[in-house]
Symmetry: C2
Subunit: 115 residues, 2 copies
């Protein structure tokens, strides 16, 4: 699972902050300009821009500038690496439960043969 | 979505490191002792223990000590908060696409009426 390893570092670090998750939440509802994104947050603009830069460098959001207005959008494929990783963990977990199940059945069979 | 907010901070921060994700990967396959977890990693024991502590405090893994041996397990519900959050983002995204679709159909209808 080294496929997305360095990308996952950036994505998970970017998501480990409530302001950045709130920005993602807002952009999941539609595109927004810098000032629209700033409106609900009580923070200095450079702080907000730093959050946006972190999200953008992780590939979670994209931005385009027209004139003096920069508009942000959530990346279509934002969560693909995370979903792949979670899916892999879920597969491993299911396989493990299946093995435990097989083992339990085998034990039960052996006990039944003993008696 | 403030439900899991502080927990999500810890979970995402815990997952933003390749060693910690490798530990989760190993524990998704089954329980392991401290030395079994240390074996594939070339790092000092205190460093490994710090990674394990971070995963445990995020609720991703649990541990039990019998005698001098501590055994780690992945938490059953490790990824529930993350999956809930991703599910919510996916719902918002789908709703947005549906709205765009409705809008596009409405535009097409208006144009058809104009001609």
């Amino acid at each position: 699972m080294a496929k997305y390893d360095s990308q996952l570092d950036h994505i998970f670090a970017a998501l480990a902050d409530p302001t950045r998750r709130a920005i993602i939440d807002r952009l999941s509802r539609g595109t927004a300009t810098t000032s629209e994104l700033a409106a609900p947050h009580d923070m200095a603009l450079p702080t907000l821009l730093a959050h946006l830069a972190k999200l953008e460098s992780a590939g979670l959001i994209t931005s385009t500038k027209v004139g003096r207005v920069r508009t942000y959008a959530r990346s279509d494929t934002a969560f693909v690496p995370v979903q792949d990783w979670l899916g892999h963990q879920s597969d491993l977990w299911t396989r493990r439960l299946d093995q435990l199940d097989t083992y339990a059945k085998q034990l039960a069979k052996e006990r039944a043969n003993e008696t």
